[in-house]
Amino acid sequence: MSLVTDKIISKPKIETRDLGLEMTENNRSLIEISNFDFFYGEKQALFDVSMDIKEREVTAFIGPSGCGKSTLLRCINRMNDLIEVARIGSGKITVNGVDIYDDRVDTIELRKRVGMVFQKSNPFPKSIYENVVYGLRIQGITRKSKLDEAVERCLKGAALWEEVKDRLDTSGLSLSGGQQQRLCIARALAVEPDILLMDEPCSALDPVATAKVEELIHTLKDRYTIVIVTHNMQQAARVSDRTAFFYLGKLIEMNATDQIFMSPDKEQTEAYISGRFG
């Protein structure tokens, strides 16, 4: 456990119910980012970024490498706290109105509410079953019936149940790349997050596995708020409701995905999505 995390845990915690995530309504802003500046040491990675991310929608971050999209994604569940030189310059990020960089916020609790799926699937070297219940065991849940129920619910939620229900005790590492990624999504769902952050979740997958994950994203948005970083613009167009285009650490344009891909407001956005960039 890092020093930063230790320090946060030692503070009085803001409970989930204070975050009020259970009481949210459709299509309101769940995540609000205001005038956010972010630095890695002396290098500024994000410049005055402001945006609202709507509840139960899929929001895609697009832009060339180094534009800051993954940095911003990682700021939403404070993953960047783990990088020693990372620091916020100014601005804030709120989740359901709570400033997540408030000293009293417990980052463990935050990351339970704001789950993350990474570019490379990273199942633990454990059985499929144990991968899914890992977070629940950490929470102290031991009752088998409850764990069994969570495994079935989450694997169904991740569209993996039918493929693995007869071999839950085999290693998660024995699955194909696409199945491993869906197992990681099931693991993230197990702790019942409200927000799922996905950092290029399909970049290591073949087209069939990519299609399955995209279908999954489409079904998950009924229950979860999803933010996805992708280099694949067609994927952003296919899966997202809203798209944000970043360049050199700045948010150039954010709008409904239809609008961005059919008639963007900014010339830079049009140049990027039509491949005329650079």
Binding site: V208, A211, K212, E214, E215, H218, Q234, A237, R238, T257, D258, F261, M262
Partner: protein, 221 residues
């Protein structure tokens, strides 16, 4: 694997079918208005043209959106191009029906020799059959039916030419006929054009189903 957005393609197909039904109905009603001297019906046909235009606009928007967001390829992409082209043909069919209705109203105000209308019901029947068959070839995905439609417009063309000659004779015989017969020349031409649009749709459906140009296929025969 069926993707969630494939339902959007089905919507576009449905809208094209709906547009086809409306266009066919307009042509039938326009003919009925002429034969039964029914001004109310003629007005109804003219008003329904806006509905057909609206469906074309909706299909255009849906196709542009699908192409922009879904990166379609192969048959999906052909369907979208066919939807744009066929909906334009159907929009023109709606316009021709509206033109027929408008000219019918003018004729009814003037009176018309009965002989002037003689060939038109047959032209209308042929054009509607072609239109219905081209739409059925789309709905049932029957390339042989689409193929069979090409060439069927020749009889309509012949009837139109004969009609024209006869109408000229009627105008020569009595100058009082000129105004109404001129309207009939245009009505006859409208039915001929409707048959052309039906043939276009058949060619488009053939391309959708086979990825081949029907014109090239028939030329190479």
């Amino acid at each position: 694997m069926k993707r969630y957005f494939h339902e959007e393609l089905e919507e576009i197909r449905s809208h094209l079918m709906l547009m086809g039904e409306k266009a066919v109905e307009s042509v039938k009603l326009a003919m009925q208005a002429l034969l039964e001297s029914d001004i109310e019906l003629a007005n109804q046909v003219m008003e329904s043209d806006d509905v057909i235009d609206d469906i074309e606009k909706q299909i255009d928007d849906e196709v542009v959106r699908y192409v922009s967001l879904r990166a379609p390829v192969a048959r999906d992409l052909r369907l979208l191009f066919v939807a744009i082209k066929a909906s334009h043909d159907l929009e023109r069919v709606g316009d021709e029906a509206s033109n027929i209705a408008g000219r019918t109203k003018k004729i009814l105000a003037q009176g018309l020799p009965i002989d002037a209308v003689a060939r038109v019901p047959r032209m209308c029947e042929l054009a509607i059959n072609m239109l219905e068959d081209s739409l059925r070839s789309f709905i049932q995905e029957e390339e042989s039916l689409a193929y069979s439609i090409v060439g069927r417009d020749r009889e309509v063309d012949t009837l139109n030419r004969e009609n024209f000659k006869e109408l000229v004779e009627l105008m020569k015989s009595d100058s009082a006929n000129v105004s109404a017969c001129t309207e009939m020349v245009f009505i006859s031409k409208s039915f001929e054009r409707i048959a052309d649009h039906a043939k276009n749709i058949a060619e488009e459906v053939f391309y959708l189903l086979t990825a081949q140009s029907l014109k090239e296929v028939t030329r190479g025969k």
